[in-house]
Symmetry: D2
Subunit: 351 residues, 4 copies
């Protein structure tokens, strides 16, 4: 663990870039050596992010994105750019021998046709798509460790897949009756100037959005179907919460015949034995956003409603940390031979 891993961060001005900078500022092994921003090139990182003043990385001078330059200064690159902007760059960096963790959606969908359908553009790197590993450590730690290109999962999919993986892989719930009512903090909407996400448009309010075709739907269905070994079709409804960070997903399921709460709980215990960052809450406890803030934890609670015969699963994550940049660092850790939790061990910030 003593050797330094040199990391590049492409696209630092969004919230996922900001969160990567925050985590890496104190990472014991992975060190930021290049940070790019088209708009802010020439400025010091601490000038755009005053909270990094006093950290070594704060003195880094932002540069315009340039794969050749990145390849020279970095062993690994995090791409925190919008979808569409990552695919070419990832391919170029891979060709130059740089490991890549892509936080955009560009390599999450395993079929280029699905990408085209939901993102409205052609996938230009279908070969790299095959190479990419879906970066959810609890499911794919082995593949991630050997990967050169990791597709970092979406925030909503992370919260949903972790909540359903133990149930679907054991066939404990019906695959045709999955309803996901998800709620996200505003940082999930990005950091671009936008009237819709001004404080006074969002504060003291709450609303559903992108119903019924949010782009995380095919990603969720792809991964759940792989786990279940059969097609899973979901109803997925995101809502916008007046908080900075966090996603809470409330999932409504029909247990298959004979599934009792005890066996459901056992499925979780089995699936996540040894998983430091998934916490199955004891009966009577349900997840709350405040208990995962700033961390990699995914808290999960189960409730069987005997009256209606439904199973409810609730999961809470921090959308920026577990749902994006923390998970990206965990993936980079694995790709670099480091323990998953390296640099990610601080307790959640409550309150």
């Amino acid at each position: 663990m003593s050797e330094i891993i040199r990391a590049g961060l492409v696209g630092v001005t969004g919230y996922t870039g900001m969160e990567l900078a925050r985590i890496l500022a104190a990472h014991p092994v992975i060190r930021l050596t290049a940070v790019t921003s088209r708009e802010e090139a020439g400025r010091a990182l601490e000038d755009i992010y005053p909270f990094l003043r006093g950290f070594a990385c704060g003195k880094l001078c932002l540069i315009a994105p340039d794969p050749e330059a990145l390849a020279k200064s970095c062993d690994l690159a995090f791409l925190a750019v919008p979808h569409g902007a990552a695919m070419e760059l990832a391919a170029t960096l891979r060709a130059l021998g740089v490991k890549v963790v892509d936080l955009s959606a560009d390599f999450r969908l395993r079929e280029a046709g699905i990408y085209r359908e939901w993102y409205g553009q052609e996938h230009t790197q279908p070969a790299r798509l095959k190479e990419a590993v879906y970066g959810l450590p609890e499911l794919y730690a082995g593949e991630i460790a050997g990967a050169g290109l990791v597709a970092n999962p979406g925030c909503y999919p992370t919260s949903v897949i972790l909540a359903l993986y133990p149930l679907l892989r054991q066939g404990l719930v019906e695959t045709g009756s999955v309803i996901i009512d998800a709620k996200s903090g505003v940082s999930g909407a990005g950091r671009k100037a936008s009237q819709a996400h001004l404080f006074s448009e969002v504060g003291e309010s709450f609303r559903p959005y992108s119903v019924p075709r949010h782009r995380h739907t095919p990603e969720i269905e792809q991964e759940l179907s792989l786990v279940a070994g059969r097609e899973v079709l979901v109803t997925f409804t995101p809502h916008l919460l007046p908080v900075n960070r966090g996603i809470l997903s409330s999932i409504y399921l029909r247990p298959t015949a004979g599934a009792e709460e005890e066996s459901l709980r056992a499925a979780f215990a089995g699936a996540y034995a040894g998983s430091r960052f998934v916490r199955l809450l004891p009966p009577g406890s349900l997840p709350e956003l405040r208990y995962v803030r700033g961390s990699m934890y995914c808290d999960i609670g189960l409730v069987m409603d005997k009256r209606s015969g439904r199973l409810m699963v609730f999961s809470a994550i921090d959308n920026l940390c577990r749902g994006a940049s923390g998970q990206a660092v965990a993936n980079a850790n694995l790709m670099s031979g480091l323990p998953l939790e390296c640099g990610l061990e601080a307790a959640p910030l409550a309150p």
Copy 2:
């Protein structure tokens, strides 16, 4: 409309009492003549509610609750007391000839046995229970106009019943597959000192609670079953939002065979023709809490998800106004021969 209706308000220190005082401070016909509070008796209303300074009612001196005194000074009484505390008082006031709008849960459940099961105590006034009218004006305006005792609906039930009434009365959705994911602002938790609802326990957080047995469940099922003409069983999951006011319910349904979005919309248009305070939003628009704040409006949005065959109905209300005190005033208006909207016509406060 020129004669004054004298109103009593029993229990002013909670949020529903506070909201009643707010609305009645500017009501053109109903005038507060007696306001009670066990703890604050002797103080002026404006001393506990500085926002009422300058209003005539602000000078009212709070008195301890006393049915005889209320009967002398009031034509009608609002009971804004906890459940259990209202039933005797309502019966006494009725016997003294005072009309009563009860904001507690005491007269909402039509069967005393159900009350006992969910509220854990015996109903002492089963005869008055029969007399009580469920005060949802869009369904029962006629009965309310002639009633002496109105059971003001719960906040969640108001948001749910208005969203489902047109569908269930026409048999457009299956009655065995109703899932309600509801989110409420913190004022719904009451105004008693409580660690769980301190700002720093709730701010920047979000959580489900009272799953799977919230007390509004039987009230919802009772009213929906009456509308549907058959038993309706729901999965009802409330969550706590970090906002002061508002309830948004996201409801997942299975349309019965052949139901198309157009006919579903027609059902709403028909059911709420002439209903000033229910607004069916046009296709593509969904409710937001900020657009109903401080008002009697219930905004409703419909989405058919063709992929999953599910119908989603979203409704938004202000839990304190439409979900409690505004509705109580609307009921009092009808009971007094006034137009439903009297004193309730201000536009929602956005932002």
Copy 3:
């Protein structure tokens, strides 16, 4: 009061336009007959402001701004446009015989040179500047009633001038030692897309801004100097609060020799006798934003600190209602021969 006043609203898409629409939607005499927006022309008002669905004005079709058209359909126009955009328009409308309430800063500074210095552009209508009346009703009700052009005060100046007027006009505080520490909700920053005012930039945070040269400084000094009869120079420091609405100003003063709390209170009582919308709080009570929300009230609290010999005055207003659009309607009321409070009588929305 029975005749309708026809009002135009120029620039409806900002928060002051939104608030004007909210207030006028339920105004008993002033009726919106023309609403303009360059970007949204052709849409119905209720399509951009769903909270107005169901109100008569919601059906108004937005038009591009055109003084001739406005002059035909309106007796009075509210200008809710950025500074610089109002001066020509106001002059044209006045020439066409339309009364004007200008919510921008264009006519607030009585000297064109000061305007140039602080707003960085030339004032093109110096003659109209002389004609304009500063629209603070507690100080200038008489002039406003006879005015054709009213300069609606800035939000911060409203909160400050009302807090100091009684003291300065009686010489009860030193004019060289006025420190104003002011805090405003985010709606004060406007509704243009902006990264700096995204929810996640502002929520859970707090910061000073525009120190030491906020543009409301010369407006505050101009009016305080007029009241005092001598030059008043202030230290004015605004801060950004994570709330939608409200300004609280904490003002630090040195009483002149011999001024006692009692005489200071008497000065307020005298200055605001008969002023419905200024509330001097009793000793021991201090203003809170929640108690003025959505209203015209300015709550004022006084504290003498005997240890330091300083006087502190605190004032709270709703920046959008009292600090902008509500005050504009009050001015329009006076200009139209209506009572100041017409359409502005609802109680503040607490919580």
Copy 4:
């Protein structure tokens, strides 16, 4: 650094106890070995603080406070109890050889008479009062390193003293004209059930409180006077911000003759050279709460207002971390021979 320091935490159920548990959960050297709570004795720490599930300390069983038991299991104890409750306990623990960091106010005021005047009770441990070191590391690191009993500073005093120390020790500002307008997040009000701090009493609001006699006033004056070498008398006005964490103090000063911004900045640079956790912001930058959240940083900004001749100093801290528990851990570090920043190196959580 390899030996473990065993720490006790007395009073874990308040926010300072919660924050101590959060920080110590990941501390590399100081390990919680005993945690007390009168009300929650017998429960596991993770049962009252679910965010600690998965951390070693989460399994600790809470015990009733007992000095003898603490002395056996701890080298050092943090007292996170209300004022008045700490003095006896601290004395007993000291007598048993346990080092003590007291987060209450009991040992902050160096004179028992001042304590009596402001806290309304007799100080029972005047001898220990003499022994106690005021735990502000930037001023007293040497004394703290050798101390057995450290009085952890109040949150407001921390934010104020750090902002003024460089100026007062060099005589750069007048001591008779210090005005402090401070704003704190709600966690500063404690975690006891309280109506005044319910979400819906505080959210979307803002107010001054405890004016003009907040108990942190004498602590501020004591320390500033010591620094200045002469009596400093302040006007101190706290306000309640609707955020969980953070204090921003806006301080108004009169520079002494000849003080220029450059020399003022030099004073800060000199005073805090080598101080990792104080960041003087460059000209044009001002502190924001979001940039210090969850951290030990104190960000400071200076503005000279040439118009009024006043100097404004702004400081921002996290009231729970720098203003209480993080500082307590920093003190414990120094008392244990560890580097000040041990376990306190994570970057602030933004957003």
